[in-house]
Amino acid sequence: MNLREISSLVFIVWLGLLLGAVLKIVAYDNILTGGVGTYILTHAAPELGAENIVTSVLLAYRGLDTLGELTVLFVAITAAGLVLGQRRTDAPSDSDAGFILRTAANLLFPFLIILGTYILLQGHFSPGGVFQGGAILAAAFFVPILASPASPLHHRVSRLVEGLVVATFMIICLLALFSDDAFLALLLGKGSVSQLFSAYSLPLLHIVIGFQIGTAFAGILARLQETEASD
């Protein structure tokens, strides 16, 4: 064994001991009843008019983190594009999935779009939300690609949509900076709880982010699927 292997081994053992010690010390049954979490639980609905507390944390209290996560997705797809490069036009693609799957995929498309949008629109006052809705939208775009690999996603279009959507999100946040003097501050009125038009600009942010997640996931999946076929 060389020095590098020995040191890796020592490191792994040390890490294992550390984690073991943590599991022994931290009492998971003794969960803190206080702190920021409790405050948000009691204040989110009256302050923001959003019944779904997860949504109010994601988009209002910790909106900057969500913007950051969206950026991570954008970075990942840009980096994947950089590494995987352009597909050769003469590269063979996977064979077609057959008539039944193709038809079903095409039929599914509008329904998945409707379901995804519905979940996005309802996100601030019912179960669901940005990431769930976004995943369904991504499926809507990706299922047709799986069914007929020869007609791939238009990457240029999807990247443009993605850039535009995130830029819209940023612009909403920056508008808040000008009108309210705080980045990511909420615009529009509070409305009443459980209404479609309520909870400030949360529903708007919802739709924008949902579409971004949808196109980003679909784009990454499509890109990976293409490289697999070109070998």
Binding site: S7, Y39, D65, G68, V72, L82, G163, A167, A185
Partner: protein
Amino acid sequence: MNGVWLVALPLLGAFVLPMIYRRHTIVGYWTGPVILIINLAIAMGLWQRVSADGTHSIAMGGFPAPVGITFYVDKLALLFAIMVILGTLILWLGKKMGEVREETLLLLIVAGGCGLALSGDLFNIYVFYEIVAVASYGLAASRGTGAGYAASIRFLILSALGSSMLLLGIALIYAMTGTLNLSHLAYLAPQMLNNSVGLVAFALMLIGLGVKAELFPVNTWVPEVYATAPARISALLGGIVSKLALLVVLRLLVLIYADTSAPLLLLSLGILGVITGELAALRSSDLRQVLAYSSIGQLGLVAIAFAIPGPAGIIAGIALALHHALVKPALFMLTEAWGGQLNRLVGAAQVSMLSTLLFIVLALSLVGIPPLPGFLAKFLLLKGALAVENGWYHTAIAVVLIATVIETAYFIRIMRLMFQSKTQQTADAPLMRDLKPALSLVVLLLISVLTVSPISQSLSAIAEEAADKEVYINKTLPSDWHHLEKVEW
């Protein structure tokens, strides 16, 4: 101007860059530098404001700390933000046209880097760290060679493991205190975090951040990635991005772990990094790897400095970090032509005297020969470490001195090769395109020689301000935040 623009502007630029490039290549090519210049102006403006009115914090979305996310704008954060922006701008000089994806990722690294410097919230720091990390994986592989992909994938695996360690540490802290805001944590730390679990959380976060900061056990990706990535990318990752991770470690130490044995942990990793880095550099026979290992050693020095308690350590750490951020990118830019086996450098002085002179100045400053600024940085480190009444810090001094001798040995060896007579294998002269960033950095280095006394004065002002935990808490937590405590802790 609001400090948020430092993050928002490059983000917005990155999102619209592909669209601009589709319409006008020339406009697209200039978008990045223009954004960076505006950003630099904003950072300078904020610097003036902080000098005049003291530090301030920004509450995102108008939700005050500790519930919302806050940015804390002080001179230390601005200094590192300026370092990232200016460094990227200089590395932009002489860049090829039309590399839209690289430019997008560079802008995102700037946005993430400014976010890391300014953010005052642990999870938010994690998010910005991820942005920087994912962008680095892509850039590290951008040369497109097989070896580059292999290095990048190993970097990705190690870095992803590190990120999960970081997240685990943050989760532990949240489980113990119920908050993520640094100012709130600073307030709670003496009663809730200065115990063994708190130290474990620090160790986990240190390992996680250490992947980017090239700390001792998790830096195995460094020589491989820097040997295969394009020179500009190695320069950016080794010279600039690595310091941001150490800045986060410094904030944690100052605000949360000042009175614990956490600094000793950082100190020991720093010492091990210096020894292993310099010894490996001595044995290495590839110029890029020599520089990579030397960068591990130099970051070990910064880690040792940040482990020294009080403003003295911060002064030394910033001086070492800034110096390394000037010198190492410039050295990496020379490797675009000179990379590979050291014997390709035989007779380099006859091929390109200018590059040889640049190399000598940079190497001498890195070793710490007066009057070059590397001397001042190392001197501050020794002075700071000597003042601490603890045997470990005195061991660190001995290690730093031995490391300096080793450093001198391998740089002198390379310089001797350069002045031998030229052979068949001698490398070509570096292209002017690659020399532009190196020259600008050397000019900055020489300017800093001439302005050494104002620089050291402002360094101590920055350090005094950064070491003041009370100011951080008072400026960030609103006075009526105690209503949170009415809930039973």
